[in-house]
């Protein structure tokens, strides 16, 4: 392992920690939604976060690039301390993809322009290069033929795939998914999950808040169970399903398995 690391000047061995979150706290008014959350994500890993609603999962994701400002705690993306002083947040955000529950595609732009805009305006790539990358990423999510369609002309599943292509185009070190299939009709979740499973297999580093158990089983290296603003338990999905340490974990996983089923 050491030797591998030595040959790679950018220290991007397979063990490289892409994201480290330490003792994260966040309070909205009186309610403390995050009460000291810590975890790490290594290069190529997919972590799936599950837990009852209102336990701060979405807040946690937004705190990672400080879209929501955490109250306390530290966050590192690679060597960069996101919570550090004088950090260039826009640069940090350009290197982390974010996929939202309700897609948030830019309404006035075609699929191609949605994927291209970050390359043009944030990365300042020349137009031809940006277009080429955008077309490639649309193809990656199987929507090359919809390049000229506006979001309103796409199904929810297609919109979310365009949103994933938009995130991928920026060549992120990490992609955060905030309940990417919760706003979709059940028959449309499959196409989005297929894309995500493929991404995980390709070695993309991902943190996914989702109750799709099928996805967790197929793609997650680790399942994180959160409740009440803390991580109750984490481990490989099989271990959490078969022998959870805490009865709360078992109970919750039973519940979502019944609700969302095993397939996905």
């Amino acid at each position: 392992m050491e030797r591998e690391r030595d040959t790679d000047t950018s220290r991007r061995g397979p063990d490289e920690v892409v994201l480290r979150v330490e003792d994260l706290h966040k309070r909205y008014g009186r309610e403390e939604v995050l009460k000291g959350v810590s975890f790490e994500v290594r290069r190529g890993e997919t972590k799936v976060i599950v837990g009852p609603s209102g336990t701060g999962k979405s807040t946690l994701l937004r705190c990672i690039t400080r879209l929501t400002e955490p109250d306390r705690g530290r966050i590192w993306l690679g060597d960069v301390e996101v919570t550090g002083r004088g950090v260039d947040l826009n640069r940090v955000r350009a290197s982390v993809g974010f996929v939202f529950q309700d897609f948030n595609l830019f309404t006035h732009l075609t699929a191609l322009d949605n994927v291209r805009i970050g390359l043009l305006k944030v990365k300042k790539l020349p137009k031809d290069e940006a277009t080429e990358i955008a077309r490639k990423q649309l193809e990656h999510v199987g929507l090359a033929h919809k390049a000229d369609a506006y979001p309103a002309e796409l199904s929810g599943g297609q919109q979310q795939r365009v949103a994933i292509a938009r995130a991928l185009a920026m060549e992120p070190k990490l992609i955060l998914f905030d309940e990417p299939t919760s706003a979709l009709d059940p028959e449309l979740t499959g196409e989005v999950l297929d894309v995500m499973v493929a991404l995980a297999k390709e070695g993309m580093t991902m943190v996914v808040v989702s109750h799709e158990i099928g996805f967790a089983r197929a793609a997650a290296d680790e399942l994180i169970f959160m409740e009440g603003g803390v991580i109750v338990e984490q481990g490989p999905p099989d271990q959490l399903f078969r022998q959870p340490k805490y009865p709360r974990t078992a109970e919750f996983l039973r519940k979502i398995t019944a609700l969302y089923g095993e397939t996905g």
């Binding site: 939202f100 948030n104 830019f106 805009i117 970050g118 305006k121």
Partner: protein, 231 residues
């Protein structure tokens, strides 16, 4: 050319050159004050939505002042008031400035409403990919807000076209000023003002048509009112 008689009214084609000159002035004033209003209105709207501290308060105060006082008072202040501070403006420039500052306040309110109607997720998505706030406003929020604003904003432009007629109060010879001059000389008040009313009406039709064309041209599916059957 001969005079035209219609139901006891007499119209003289000799009025037309003078009215034509006035019409040009009306179009110039309207065009310039609308342009001033768009630029200033957009800045005010962005400050009212995204500004903090003094920028927010100053922009709000501006809007309140210009919406809360009569346009005529504003015009007379610019033309008769400013000279006491050593600022002497021509009647034409006074008219453009007073009307432009006034419409900026109203346009700002239309722009602000449109900006605030854009779902929050749009700004969030833009910031999440590393855009600065200014970039997000410029490339994501305003292109959507400006499309949405066209119908209500059209009303303001039509109002300005008609309200521009008050500049005759500071001796600008616009369409209205020309009409008053002709009427005072010929005593054909009714005929002259019928003619002027018809010219304004035609202008309003033309402007409405142009704005509708603009709205259709920039329309994007999923933004604003869809024509035809609902989905």
């Amino acid at each position: 050319m001969d005079k035209i008689e219609l139901g006891g009214l007499v119209f003289d084609p000799a009025w037309l050159p003078k009215l034509g000159q006035g019409l040009v002035v009306t179009l110039e004033i309207t065009g310039l004050c609308i342009a001033l209003g768009i630029v200033l209105g957009l800045i005010l709207a962005v400050l009212r939505v995204y500004g903090r501290g003094p920028l927010y308060w100053l922009s709000s105060l501006y809007v309140q002042f210009f919406r809360g006082t009569p346009l005529l008072v504003q015009l007379l202040m610019v033309y008769y008031g400013l000279p006491s501070w050593g600022i002497v403006l021509s009647p034409f420039v006074s008219g453009v400035i007073a009307l432009g500052l006034n419409t900026a306040a109203y346009q700002a309110e239309y722009f602000r409403g449109a900006i605030q109607s854009i779902p929050r997720g749009q700004m969030l998505a833009a910031r999440s990919m590393g855009m600065t706030r200014a970039q997000a406003i410029r490339y994501v929020i305003l292109p959507q807000a400006l499309r949405l604003v066209i119908p209500p904003w059209s009303n303001e432009l039509i109002l300005m076209l008609k309200y521009s007629s008050i500049v005759y109060m500071v001796t600008v010879i616009d369409l209205m000023g020309a009409a008053r001059t002709i009427a005072a000389r010929t005593f054909r008040y009714f005929e002259v003002f019928i003619l002027v009313a018809l010219i304004y009406l035609a202008l309003v039709f033309l402007l409405s048509w142009l704005l509708r064309r603009l709205e259709e041209r920039v329309r994007v599916p999923g933004l604003g009112m869809e024509r035809g059957a609902p989905h």
